[in-house]
């Protein structure tokens, strides 16, 4: 959530992935190269991959059903051979809830970020390429949205329309799109007067073709780095909403919600709060390490 505030303000210097000039090397190959070269990126990617696998295989690897209540277990809720991470205040297996919770967060966060990227890319391209009145209107609306402190925007909208996965995705998409639009608009303004764009125009290509095929690839590097940074921050945002009690509705496991539910019992059973807090931190650390590694590697060219 912190990006909540951190993003407000001017666009940050957009880092490149050093993609120019090696057009014949596939993007995937480049990413793999970077991954093997930067230890930070490797660690980050491994964490993300591990959680993704657990989430994907949840029905098979999760030892218990995540919502099964067994109050008898609360007598000794600490980690044991039967329950590796212990059980929560209702006797639900914490490991199973973490694994299923990973499924939730790893679905909601990427969808929200992709939604923001799609909307932001479109608005940024149109804004930068068309310019004039459309540009002014789009940027003005974006500025107004950015003037809201994010957490307050989330609170107002979600408290109003109710906490659901759809509403959370919508509000994150809406609040992040203006920043992505700025990044893309900047790149568009930079390249739209280059010769190859003029050539495409001469050939009679449509504006849509020019925007998406000729201009957009230039923003690829910054967008990839931004995607993983944003994935981390969105994970935090979802966790924070859960912690504040306006996240995904119970009883389905949600990491932030798990922390909130057990928070009052931290003096009695600290593991119920600390374990989900560790889980969410590890996922965000993974995303941020990957983003940092990618950016560092790209600066080296």
């Amino acid at each position: 959530m912190t990006e909540i505030i951190h993003d407000i303000g001017r666009p940050r210097a957009a880092p490149g992935l050093g993609l120019a000039g090696d057009a014949h090397v596939g993007l995937l190959r480049q990413v793999l190269n970077i991954l093997t070269r930067s230890p930070l990126a490797t660690v980050g990617a491994s964490i993300l991959l591990a959680w993704s696998l657990l989430a994907l295989l949840a029905p098979w690897v999760s030892p218990y059903p995540p919502n099964r209540i067994d109050v008898a277990l609360v007598a000794d809720p600490y980690p044991s051979a039967a329950h590796w991470l212990g059980v929560d205040h209702l006797g639900r297996d914490i490991l199973s809830r973490l694994i299923w919770g990973a499924r939730t967060v790893l679905t909601v966060a990427p969808i929200a970020v992709l939604g923001a990227v799609a909307l932001g890319v479109f608005l940024g391209l149109v804004s930068g390429y068309r310019g004039g009145f459309i540009d002014t209107v789009i940027m003005r609306i974006g500025d107004t949205l950015l003037a809201f402190p994010k957490i307050i925007l989330y609170l107002i909208i979600i408290a109003k329309f109710g906490a659901s996965a759809f509403n959370i995705i919508a509000v994150i998409t809406l609040s992040s799109a203006p920043i992505i639009a700025r990044i893309v608009r900047g790149v568009t303004l930079d390249v739209k007067n280059r010769d190859y764009v003029a050539a495409a125009r001469m050939r009679g290509e449509s504006a849509l073709f020019i925007m998406f095929v000729e201009i957009l690839p230039n923003a690829r590097g910054p967008l990839i780095v931004d995607f993983f940074l944003r994935l981390g921050y969105t994970t935090i945002a979802i966790g924070v909403l859960g912690f504040l009690g306006v996240g995904l509705p119970p009883p389905d496991p949600d990491w932030g919600g798990m922390v909130k539910e057990a928070y009052g019992m931290i003096f009695v059973w600290p593991h119920m709060t600390i374990i989900p807090a560790l889980a969410i931190s590890s996922l965000v650390i993974g995303a941020n390490f990957l983003a940092t590694g990618l950016r560092e590697a790209s600066l080296d060219g």
């Binding site: 003037a147 402190p149 107002i156 924070v240 709060t273």
Partner: protein
């Protein structure tokens, strides 16, 4: 510069107007029955209708909006339904508490981030830089509520050194200053993680410049190059970012205040949003947006003052 400021202030007034209208309109989309909320579930229908008319809620929304704005301009923001007091008094009280927490945190975060960021960035990829980079990246990755839980687990549950709540009352058995330690720590870890990275990357960029290499090659000592040539330029970019932290410190402390039951602005906004207390939400949002835009304006002005190459 004067013209620029005037233009920005006008811009700000327009945005505030748009924001206030947006929030008001949002509330009208599904009018939660205010009179019913005040009277409770056992009031009769006629009582509810009576109060609705009495409060003037039966009139069209647009009329009520302009009436509200008219009063707001004179400093009357109406009454809070949840807190049962005038919104202006409530804001004053809560903002004061939040500003106190924000000021202490700011005073810790800024020197810490500048010193660590500069030390890390001056020798790119040295061991200190590596350590600080990983450390700051981890700090910025741990959500405040998770960091709060970890620190609470260590200092309150395990060691018992600090209080777990910060209601700012002296009858809670802990000195007031001790109630500030954990909230400030959580804010510092989270925010400094980000700021250190900003200062560091700006420093790294400056240290790569040809004029730094020239200064070193002509035999100037490394420390002198850093303090005389690099420092000022390296701090220009982070300056705005540092100022922008004020937004976070005023309106982004919802989580920290909720964690520690701190009677601040953020927690008030959370309670107001959950209870749909529109008078508080409207006024609080306007304050938060003003803070954002004012810090941006000051950031721009300061930026121009620091870097004479920039003109508007």
């Amino acid at each position: 510069m004067l013209r620029y400021s005037a233009k920005q202030l006008l811009n700000m007034a327009l945005t505030l107007f748009a924001v206030s209208f947006l929030v008001f309109a949002l509330n009208e989309l599904s009018p939660g029955d205010v009179a019913r909320k005040i009277l409770g579930p056992y009031a009769s229908e006629s009582q509810v209708d009576h109060l609705t008319v009495q409060m003037g809620l039966d009139r069209p929304a647009i009329v009520r909006y302009f009436e509200y704005m008219g009063k707001a301009l004179t400093g009357d923001f109406g009454d809070s339904i949840v807190f049962r007091m005038p919104v202006a008094d409530l804001m004053f009280d809560r903002l004061g508490n939040t500003l106190l927490l924000a000021a202490i945190s700011f005073a810790v975060i800024v020197p810490l981030s500048v010193v660590l960021g500069v030390l890390a960035g001056m020798r790119e990829r040295g061991w200190f830089d590596r350590t600080i980079s990983v450390f700051s990246s981890m700090c910025a990755s741990i959500p405040e509520f998770a960091m709060g839980v970890f620190l609470l687990g260590i200092f309150v549950v395990w060691l018992g050194w600090l209080p777990g709540t910060s209601p700012l009352r002296s009858d809670s058995g802990w000195a007031i200053w001790m109630q500030f330690v954990l909230p400030v720590l959580v804010v510092t870890f989270y925010d400094a993680g980000y700021l250190i990275a900003m200062v560091r990357s700006s420093m790294v960029e400056v240290m790569r410049q040809p004029y730094i290499r020239t200064a070193l090659l002509k035999g100037m000592s490394f420390n002198r190059v850093v303090s005389r040539h690099a420092l000022r330029n390296a701090l220009i970019t982070p300056f705005t970012v540092i100022l922008l932290q004020l937004n976070y410190l005023v309106s982004g402390l919802v989580v920290v205040e909720t964690l520690f039951a701190y009677p601040g602005f953020g927690r008030m906004m959370l309670e107001a949003a959950l209870a749909k207390d529109i008078a508080v939400i409207e006024a609080g949002t306007l304050i938060a947006v003003s803070v954002t835009m004012l810090t941006q304006l000051f950031g721009d002005l300061g930026y121009m003052a620091l870097d004479p190459r920039i003109r508007v």
